[in-house]
């Protein structure tokens, strides 16, 4: 796992924002993953000295501004989930691919749940189970990130 440049991280986050701004409609918008968070999570677990809770906060704020939702909603949910991710980041070396997948699944789920709670507090209606589709698609996107930028865990040595 070679070190990454700061700019690669910002560029991928920008591309994620662009994907988020793409005019999704109908089923697409229900299935749309939270691009920003999946990309962020990859970098967060890979190089936390470049991409940390602060980066999560700024990207959450950008998502809020771009989507026109209540300012700070995504920022807070990203921050909390990123914190949960960073806390156990150093133990990732011990994880195998399946453990890591489960861990990331929980983190993405956490982000969704925090956001849902904030939305419900802000007076939105209950969106129903459709709301959790992005967790599944987010996992797929995360796997794609692994494929493109390389695995996080060490290759298995016998």
């Amino acid at each position: 796992m070679q070190p990454v440049s700061r700019w690669i991280i910002y560029l991928t986050l920008l591309v994620a924002l662009l994907c988020h701004l793409f005019p999704w409609e109908g089923r697409g918008i229900i299935l749309r993953p939270v691009f920003m968070f999946a990309v962020l999570l990859y970098w967060l677990l890979r190089s936390p000295h470049l991409c940390n809770v602060g980066t999560a906060w700024v990207s959450g704020l950008l998502v809020d501004l771009a989507t026109g939702s209540l300012l700070g909603q995504h920022a807070l949910s990203f921050t909390l989930a990123a914190y949960a991710g960073v806390t156990y980041q150093r133990r990732l070396v011990l994880f195998n691919a399946w453990h890591l997948t489960g861990y990331v699944f929980l983190l993405i789920l956490l982000e969704r749940v925090v956001l849902l709670l904030l939305k419900l507090f802000a007076g939105n209606e209950n969106p129903g189970w459709h709301y959790f589709w992005p967790v599944v698609t987010g996992m797929m996107l995360w796997q794609a990130m692994l494929f493109v930028f390389g695995a996080i865990t060490k290759p298995k040595t016998r």
Binding site: L17, L18, C19, H20, L21, F22, P23, W24, E25, I29, I30, R32, P48, H49, N52, V53, G54, A56, W57, V58, G60, L61, L65, A66, T67, G68, S69, L70, L71, G72, Q73, A75, L76, T79, L80, Y83, V86, T87, R90, L118, K119, A122, G123, N124, E125, P127, H130, Y131
Partner: protein, 322 residues
Amino acid sequence: MLKGVHQKLEPQQTPAFFVRGASPFSRLMLYSALSIIIMAADARFSYLSSVRHAVIGALHPLEVLANAPSNWVRDTKRYFTAHHQLVQENYLLKQQAFEHRVMLQRLSAIQAENVHLRSLLNGNIPIQPKVILGEISHTGRDPFSNVVIVNRGTKHGIKAGQAVVDAKGVIGQVTRVYPFSSEVTLITDKELTIPIQIERNQLRAIAFGAGNNTLDIPYLPANVDIRVGDKLVTSGIDGIYPAGLAVATVTSILQNPESPFAKIISTPVAEVTNHLQLLLLALPEVQEADIKPVQPEPNPTEGKPDTKPVEKSKDKKPHAAR
């Protein structure tokens, strides 16, 4: 950007084995607090609308870039539309235009008469609201909010609070305006209310958005004269929506023996999902002195028969009428 903060925080800590900057927990606290402050500022005091405007303006090129592929696909599809389809559509449109012209002949006569009668009674002259044609650019980034984004903004003279309609009826109200786009909240949103009238018996009420493409008319007694299938039109007393625009049709009335009120559910008639074009009605002017008795135009842009006299201030949103 946030490096400075980290460096300042660092000396307070015991040197870590790995260099990680401030501890994740202190970062969590800092950023969570910031988020909560921002949320409060945005929700309660709307201090941040100018910041939002600036950022949305700056993000506009990015948005254009993101919209480009789907626009290309749409344009290509349009280019290859079959010839006979166009001919058929042209035929239908001509027929429709003819019918409308016949109707408009009567309308102008009635409008002239109406203006005359109102002037006899020293009433206010009905205003023809100015309209701006807009197009839905997307249905919002958040699938669970009832908004659509329209490609007209402050640069085109759009103001927050304007009513938005399509050919069938009322769609909603402009709630946020950005330089090149604006956000239209649908009447089915929980935050929006609209003063209505039952077309059949002129009963006035206020409809509240209830989500899931429905409207709710609360606080009406169980024995109220409303039937399934009744049409709801705007009553015009708010000064935002001109009177007589179709809003919704009553779909179900539930009587709960434990409640003194009937639960009346209706569905909007406007078809937001079916087409892109919509009309943004200008806010009514408040300066009554400026209003001169004008001869009605022979060809008003769409079928709004009449506007009730405007008395309320223009910034008032309909949900202030609760």
